[in-house]
Assembly symmetry: none
Homo-oligomer: 183 residues x 4
DNA sequence: TATGAATGAGGTTTCATTCAT
DNA sequence: CATGAATGAAACCTCATTCAT
């Protein structure tokens, strides 16, 4: 790992633990075992480092989750969407913890842009095919749940314990509901 | 309004706008039109001010929402819970924006404690009475949605537009679902 | 002397000795026997301190040199102008040394504005009355000399030795020249 | 142009624009389109680069102005001296702008040494031959004007406009004065 | 109660310089 | 000869907090 990468991952860890504001560049450099000045050589300023951390984080997440939403039938697509936050979180907990910390930072709230928005219309279509009379609202409801789940996972370690069961419960609920819609 | 109160509400505004870390005591004093030193006379330190702000916020919220969850039948209790975040947010948006900002601050995440936890078992009981086979999980699901809704309201102004409709949609969904459970 | 004033004069000394860029705020605070942070409380930033130093300097100079250019006849006005840099420098050497150091700083080159420009047209008029055929150019020449003299005084200690004689020589030269013009 | 030369001229430009202290080695390297490290290979340190810049500058100036003060009769020598700063400045404005910026830098103030001092005694002699009763002081006066002119040219673009006329005026003044001295 | 003056500790950033390649 | 990577020291500035009045 190059020193530049060390800095990115050290920053990701610390931003995840303590948030952006409470993490000093001195601390990041220390954790990366690198001089503080190197941060500014590579990333211009602290915000530039944040950009790099976010970019790296998204790249990592996307790399390991290509095609994860592909599925033949609409029902299994709905299932995929419901388990999405759980699956993503387990693979890159650090990145999502950081995202939760950065929730209000102007630069950071692109999780919505990257993961939620693109899914919204596809999900609505699937739900329409599955017979839902108000697929847009139903889609919005599901995504609200999804959005809540990864944030709770990131913030509350207790939530993790029952999270898998909850996901399963929601998936099953939709399986049943959909059967009834189609009757 | 006393100077002490001015400080509390000035702090609430600024914490809501910019978060705790990015708000300086100098700024709070300026907005309250009061000397910076007064913060420390009244609240010992910045954290003490935060305590006071939270206390005041909860007091305000509770004062205007007494008995808001009381209801005769289980179904209308479920409806009350679902609309809870919307109703609370509209009355005290500043406080909930601040809560969203403070999400990771150790002192602040008592919204759960104060509003969600006490509801959980009652909600589960209501759902049991309404014929749900897994009332605990269903309760958890509803509260997950509820938790997401107020945070989205606080953070995303676009969400506010359709929020009322979404709430209505969810309430209706449970009305129908419950009828079917009881058939 | 208040701490604020201490800072202004400490800064004036150090700017005079080493220039603006080579003087650190830490150093100024040390010389003023005051905390570095106080600079920023009182003057916002280093440039603000420079503003204050210049303002103070001009105030001091003007205070002790009111009406110094008043004179009944044109010839003695010319004499006053010629000796102006010498007289001013002797009273506030520090300020003029600082001005010499700041020559290229955008904020600082107001010596021209404050002392030279206002004199130019009056001097030209006096010279016209004294029979000069090209009073504007002659005025410009005299002011060029004047401008050079204070800068040399400020920068070169050797120049100080003969400066008084040089001033006298120039004054006498104009006395003679003017007699001839008027013949 | 070799990379070394690129560095020298890039530095001269930037020192002229912003002064020595406000010019960073990083900036110089960028303008020269060369690596920063090369500065230290070639010139040991930033001061070494300044030395090289000065040396180069003087060499350039001297090269294009050999024998410029040679003249058969004393009067035209006086004329040459008076126009010296104007002539020199027009050929190498960058170098003289830099000299003005460096006025207080210990290394830089050798313009006096190189150009003014050697002229002083010759000028005094010429003036003696021309009948001046106090040739040393008159020489000093002329050199004071000369010293002022190049600095004003370097610092104030407005001065440039009328500079040529002013020079002419001064030359003519001495022509007339000298005639009268010799009557 | 209320304030203006003051500060120590720490934050981000800049800079000249070194070194391995 | 030339560079990219790296750094220690120091620069300017911010901040929560203290204290005398």
């Amino acid at each position: 790992m190059t020193k530049k990468e060390s800095l990115v991952y050290a920053a990701m860890e610390l931003f995840a633990e303590n948030g952006f504001e409470k993490t000093s560049t001195a601390n990041i450099a220390k954790r990366a075992q690198v001089s503080e000045a190197l941060i500014f050589k590579h990333f211009t300023n602290k915000d530039g480092l944040l950009d790099a951390v976010l970019k790296q984080g998204y790249a990592d997440v996307l790399k390991s989750n290509k095609n994860m939403l592909e599925s033949k039938d609409p029902l299994s697509f709905v299932h995929r969407v419901i388990e999405l936050p759980y699956v993503l979180y387990l693979k890159h907990p650090l990145f999502w913890k950081m995202q939760a910390q950065l929730q209000t930072h102007p630069k950071a709230n692109h999780a919505q842009e990257h993961f939620v928005k693109p899914v919204k219309s596809i999900l609505a279509n699937s739900l329409r095919n599955l017979g839902y009379s108000n697929p847009d609202k139903e889609s919005e409801l599901i995504l609200t749940v999804v959005d809540s789940v990864w944030k709770k996972l990131a913030v509350d370690d207790n939530f993790n314990i029952g999270a898998k069961d909850l996901i399963k419960y929601i998936q099953d609920k939709y399986t049943i509901e959909i059967k009834q819609e189609n009757k």
